[in-house]
Symmetry: none
Subunit: 221 residues, 4 copies
DNA sequence: TATGAATGAGGCTTCATTCAT
DNA sequence: AATGAATGAAGCCTCATTCAT
């Protein structure tokens, strides 16, 4: 979020005289492409459409990103980078384990909710069997810390005697992710089938509170 | 699953001399199209490819389904029909509430796991903002019973004093779905980022058991 | 007009029990096809559409008319037959020449105006360089009398000394036709370019009166 | 006629090495498409056929004109532009009213006769109920002057006392157009039904002279 | 006489990509 | 570093017509 937005606004500062600013051009293309891919999927997105919404031309997309797949790969990378950067703002070390876990779950729920385009890109990537993610070593490096935070909390909770033993931080991450992800990814079908009551302001507050509750009941000693 | 597979095999029985069997032709097209849409998405799937894998011609696809969107809509409908039919085989009424809920969660987890194409179609449909599902009144009718089962279990559990009060069957369905769905939908990205340990036989057994555990701890009085 | 309408209503009388009535089926198809060809042109009309608006099936069209071109040819024939039959109702022999000519022009103007589908079919036929008309010997036979009437009037007028000599009845027919035909055939473009004032009730009355006037001024001694 | 032909011949000058000349490419496509649409109608014309007769490829048709309808619309526009441009070469202001009107009628008769493709396009457009003409504001602007010329002649004739009062220039335009248009539009059917005597050189000379005569007799005081 | 199912050929259009400047 | 013009391959869909019963 941070990085790219900054670059884009950097381009804005350049204004009409914006020329010879490769990084701004790249960032502009990436931002537009991210929105288009998130909205329409990989095969659904159109290079022409992306180019039209850009401040530059279609040729530049090929100049900077090679081809459509290359652009998608960089978009995916950038999306993970932005979202993981957002997570790093969370400072949990000074909280006691129960509070830290509660806050982590609540934050994850909200963070996913605030980044629907990222969620959609991950859905799209799963539709494609994760093959583009596989190619990008950059993305894997970004995610190792996600588990580390959770592991640290869990171990502190164990040491304090407040969490029960034998749990797997990776599985905990899976569970928290499942609940937070599904809330965004499946909203369209779920609400069309069963009504959108769960996505009212009250509904989401309740859902988040119960996610935290669910994880805590599962973890507490 | 049952209905269409039967029709398709009915076509098989006719063998090479199969002609003038509209239902078999429709079912054949639907089965092939379901696999192709699940694999490649709506815009990614190719009518030519679907036709080639069919016992009939491309022209017949248009004869029976109008256009690509119409075919996709019927595929989605059929996918829901098959999956919901499978769920109806579950007989939970004779079980006491805790056992019934355990079994429902475990079954849901397994059922999603056994039907990855259905999961992928739902993901694809969410990418399309649920617009095709919206058009199909048939699908909505299929899903009303899903909540009813869960509600019945919960109310019996309340009456028995084993479940705590104040919970929402719809939200319970959401939670069970979230865990079971994510297990299939996000396997590609999750396992590529954090390893595929959770999808070993042991991993899945543990995951399922913990899903049941998680829901029970959340519901029990 | 008469013939076919009669047959069609004959079919109506048969009602639900209508079966084994070849002439009614043919007439039904012809009537529907005439409307469709007049509306959409030869290549624009759709066999499927015609069949759908018919009381019978697509197969019958091929059974009775061979192919699309054959159907069109018979439609054209039928259209001429109906229109020429309408003209024969005019009895001009008992009128003195000036009155007869006035009445003939006025009738032609009105008759074209009442039969826009016929006009459109003739336009379509001209687009096709008259090749289908060329094939139909039936149509040519229908039109020989048209000139004969006019010739008779002109000769009586000459004998009475009220018409000037040296005029050509064929050319007179051409002039009367041009004014009456254009009034229907080019209404769409003319009124879009210059307004539709001439096609108001008053406008048409004035136009018709002036057509009569124009022809008379040209013919009178 | 002038404008487009010039551009097309401009392309010819470039010869085989002709590349990167957008206007020539557009003009080439337009000229070919005009002939094809005039010959076969809107639904009868084939994009493949048009492309084949062009110096460029089918893809370029879509690049410049969007789709078949868009191409047809621009062809119609160009046809009106060329024909109206031809009319503007007529200088009638220095002639006395009777001579001016005679010359206008004669010119219109000849001009229509020289531009059969334009006539056919107008016929086709009328078959389509003028809907494409309706969309093109450019065409309407071209036609406003057509009436103005005639009105000016009529008013001068009135002032000179040579024309009778109470006539409508718009209706005069309608009458002149009807006779001149029908001569081209209905030649195929008329000559097949009644012989082609009127379209011999002598026949056309007579017809034109009588059209002028007819209009004059109608207008003269 | 009548019908629903089936079809091959060909139509229009879109797409990612590259070329020439 | 940048652009408008150009393109081949492939996509979706429609049409008149015929088949099997």
């Amino acid at each position: 979020m941070g990085e790219m937005a900054d670059l884009a606004s950097g381009a804005d500062e350049a204004g009409g005289a914006r020329k010879r600013n490769p990084e701004a051009v790249r960032a502009d293309i990436l931002a537009v492409a991210m929105a288009e891919f998130a909205l329409n999927g990989l095969s659904g997105a159109r290079i022409d459409e992306i180019a039209a919404k850009t401040r530059t031309s279609k040729r530049m997309i090929y100049y900077y990103f090679g081809d459509k797949d290359g652009l998608y790969e960089r978009v995916l990378e950038e999306a993970y980078r932005e979202v993981r950067a957002g997570e790093n703002e969370l400072a949990l070390d000074h909280l006691e384990p129960v509070a830290a876990l509660s806050r982590l779950v609540g934050f994850t729920f909200d963070h996913h909710s605030r980044n629907p385009d990222f969620i959609r890109l991950v859905m799209i990537e799963n539709i494609h069997h994760g093959e583009y993610l596989e190619r990008s070593s950059a993305i894997r490096d970004l995610n190792v810390t996600a588990i580390a935070n959770l592991k640290s909390i869990y171990e502190r909770g164990l040491a304090h005697g407040v969490f029960r033993a034998g749990l797997d931080p990776l599985e905990l991450h899976w569970q928290i992710s499942a609940l937070s992800f599904f809330n965004v990814s499946n909203r369209a079908t779920f609400s069309r089938l069963f009504g959108d009551r769960l996505w009212s302001d009250d509904g989401q507050r309740k859902l988040k509170a119960d996610c935290i509750d669910m994880v805590l009941r599962f973890v507490l000693a």
